[in-house]
Amino acid sequence: MTEEVDVDPRIEADAERAAQVPPDLWARVEADLDRRGPRDPLVSLPTPVRRLLGGAGLLAFGVGLVGIQGVREDLSGGAWTTFAVCGAMFVLGSLAAAAFSLRDRASRPLPGWPWAPLAWSLMVGGSAVLPWPGMTGVPAAMHAYCFWATSVMVVLSTIWLALLERAEKPVAWRVALAGAGSGLAAFVFQSVFCPGVDLVHLVVGHGGAGVVWSVLAVAVAFGLSLRRR
């Protein structure tokens, strides 16, 4: 197993032919370079800065959501601490998802296996921290209100992360991660306003928006990515 292995001459000849570049290729690249879009300043930023902006956007939309709706008043000191610790876990997960969605193209490929324990730990973490402190018996009308309020944040955050992504066409797994991160953050911030902890309310009102809009965003990403240049 030496470094220099004799290569079949037929492969050498094939490689020689395969390296012939169309004469207009540089002109095409140059035309792309000259066609500066509105996203250019954002996507040209270094990846750590894009990630920082992505995370900051997520938090800003969350704070905005709470700012518009107000802060719940049912929690006292100890309950607030519990809520804050649980919420921080979810927000950290959402920031990690957003950061992964903005991965640099020159990064080495990630093996598939870390995703399974990651998803599992999130599930275990979620089941350990829920139910949040709060009230039960949420009226059904609140489900729809919370769903739409959360939707606003999920959609805005996902669009913001998509604007920071460098690909011309959306990449499904990146969109899925951006949507999941936005949904997770929206889930927490909506709970800063809404005290409802009924399972149905949490699933439909606080978590449903993240799932619904993420699935829609991935479907749109699939469709757009299949269109050839």
């Binding site: 197993m1 470094e3 292995v5 004799d6 290569v7 079949d8 001459p9 037929r10 492969i11 050498e12 000849a13 094939d14 490689a15 020689e16 032919r17 395969a18 390296a19 012939q20 570049v21 169309p22 290729l25 540089w26 095409r28 690249v29 140059e30 792309d32 370079l33 996507v43 040209s44 930023l45 270094p46 990846t47 640099d104 193209r105 020159a106 990064s107 080495r108 490929p109 460098r166 690909a167 011309e168 990449v171 499904a172 797994w173 699939f222 990515s225 299949l226 050839r228 240049r229």
Partner: protein, 205 residues
């Protein structure tokens, strides 16, 4: 200095093996290393530096894609996409990292994304007998045999073959581009060579 000498040896070795489009760096760029050119492009958006890198590597990137996707038009599109990603990622470039593995790490990711998209399409362009848009004069029986042989390799071996013989990277560069150990790259290459010999009939014409 040693690195520069190594690059020159690599370029000469490559040029012997594969006739890439002639080296025609813009005037004054011939002596510049890839890393210097990329650093200049990252710092000053120096278009001439980027063009020099394109002229040095477009042929290798094209060759990597051409046998990776078996379609000339698509290979040119993916080469274009790769250089656009290089442009967008220019501020991420770390001069301490060699340029070639960095470039081909991007190309490998572009190829992976392409296959992920393709796997969701109802039709596959890799059906038996598919020749893409290869010029008729290149579609000899031998060419078809080589293409089929490369196509039949497992993906992790094909990737190493494409990077080694079509893109002209060394094993440490392949390891860097794919995020694997150099030994792993050599093992995959060794297995691929054995498989190719079997598929091509022992390597004799």
């Amino acid at each position: 200095m040693v690195q520069r000498a190594h690059q020159l040896v690599e370029v000469q070795r490559w040029s012997r093996a594969i006739t890439v489009p002639p080296f025609c760096d813009p005037v004054g760029m011939e002596a510049e290393s890839d890393e210097t050119l990329m650093a200049r492009y990252a710092a000053d958006d120096d278009r001439a530096a980027f063009q020099a890198l394109f002229q040095r590597y477009a042929g290798r990137v094209q060759a990597y894609f051409r046998r990776g996707v078996q379609d000339d038009v698509l290979a040119a599109d993916l080469t274009q996409t790769t250089f656009m990603h290089v442009h967008r990622a220019r501020r991420d470039y770390d001069r301490a990292r060699a340029f070639r593995p960095w470039l081909f790490a991007i190309a490998a990711n572009v190829r992976r994304e392409h296959w992920r998209r393709l796997s969701r399409k109802p039709e596959s362009p890799l059906e038996p007998g598919h020749e893409g848009s290869v010029p008729p004069d290149a579609s000899t029986a031998t060419d078809r045999l080589v293409r089929r042989a490369v196509e039949q390799l497992p993906d992790n071996q094909r990737e190493v073959v494409l990077l080694r013989w079509y893109a002209g990277l060394s094993f440490p560069e392949i390891a860097d581009a794919l995020g694997i150990q150099t030994t792993a790259a050599k093992v995959r290459s060794h297995r691929a060579v054995k498989a190719l010999k079997a598929l091509l009939g022992g390597g004799d014409d």
